[in-house]
């Protein structure tokens, strides 16, 4: 049972890390050339690692925690957006990482695309087809930021692997 306790502790750590990263992201000034409200999605790095090392239930727990935090601090709309995006991107990254041989970069891009697809669907439900205007920008920046987050995880993975193998 000791293994399970370690997994839960690591899951809690990763949840806190995801919250801290999304808070930091909110402090960034609007990036030039990006549509307002577009964010690099740093917490996807955390859910990607959680999906790869701890497995799907723990990764989903991180995504749900982050959604709940957005719900409490930034309101219902932000909470729904964060939750839908986080859960779908976690599912997508887990599926790509576990079921195919694609690398972290491709996994990150799939996660970012899934994140934006889920948020766009929620926006469509909330307002109507007007939200589709954002599709081209979201598509482009998903690919760019997905590559960035995959690369970021690839770079920090050697340090994180110690944690990951520690719990196996």
């Amino acid at each position: 049972m000791q293994g399970k306790a370690k997994r839960i502790a690591l899951c809690g750590l990763l949840g806190a890390l995801a919250l801290a990263l999304s808070f930091l992201e909110g402090l960034l000034p609007p990036l030039p050339g990006l549509p307002p409200g577009a964010k690099p999605g740093l917490s996807n790095i955390v859910t990607m690692f959680a999906a790869g090392s701890l497995g799907l239930p723990y990764a989903l727990a991180v995504a749900i925690l982050k959604g709940g935090f957005a719900f409490l601090t930034r309101g219902v709309t932000a909470g729904l957006m964060s939750l839908s995006g986080g859960v779908l991107s976690t599912l997508a990254m887990w599926a790509v990482w576990k079921k195919t041989r694609f690398s972290l970069l491709f996994t990150g891009v799939c996660g970012a695309l899934a994140h934006n697809a889920a948020q766009l669907s929620v926006a469509l439900l909330l307002t109507g087809p007007a939200a589709l205007f954002y599709t081209p920008a979201l598509l482009l920046f998903s690919v760019v930021f997905g590559i960035c987050s995959g690369l970021a995880l690839r770079l920090v993975l050697p340090a994180l692997t110690k944690l990951g193998t520690f719990i196996q």
Partner: protein, 121 residues
């Protein structure tokens, strides 16, 4: 979590995706100026205003947001929402350009190409 090699096949996939996404994005930036502002709440159309018919800027209030329409285009002036994404979108001028205020469920969209102006005078 093991490391995996970044293969050529994967690089080609990513490159294809990137080119496709950039192409669609550029195409969306190259739209001509629009002639009409369409304001919707909960996906239902509330107003449709021909911008060239306005002699001076006009402000509308929709579910707490304030929208300004003028010959130059349309923009959110203020909104009670926390994120202010709609206000930061600034002035919308090109056909298809849209600003959405999700918390207030209000959207402003520019419709119609430049040609419509000459028809309506």
């Amino acid at each position: 979590m093991e490391k995996r090699k970044f293969t050529m096949r994967e690089a080609l996939w990513l490159l294809a995706l990137l080119i496709l996404a950039a192409g669609i994005y550029l195409w969306s930036l190259l739209q001509p100026a629009g002639s009409t502002a369409v304001i919707e709440q909960n996906g239902a159309e509330l107003y449709r205003v021909t911008l060239s018919s306005l002699s001076e800027p006009e402000q509308l209030e929709v579910n707490g947001t304030v929208i300004e329409l003028s010959r130059a285009g349309a923009r959110f002036v203020s909104s009670p929402c926390p994120d202010q994404v709609c206000v930061e979108m600034g002035l919308l001028t090109r056909a298809g350009e849209t600003a959405v205020c999700l918390p207030q469920r209000v959207s402003v969209r520019i419709a119609g190409g430049a040609g419509a102006d000459s028809v309506t005078g």
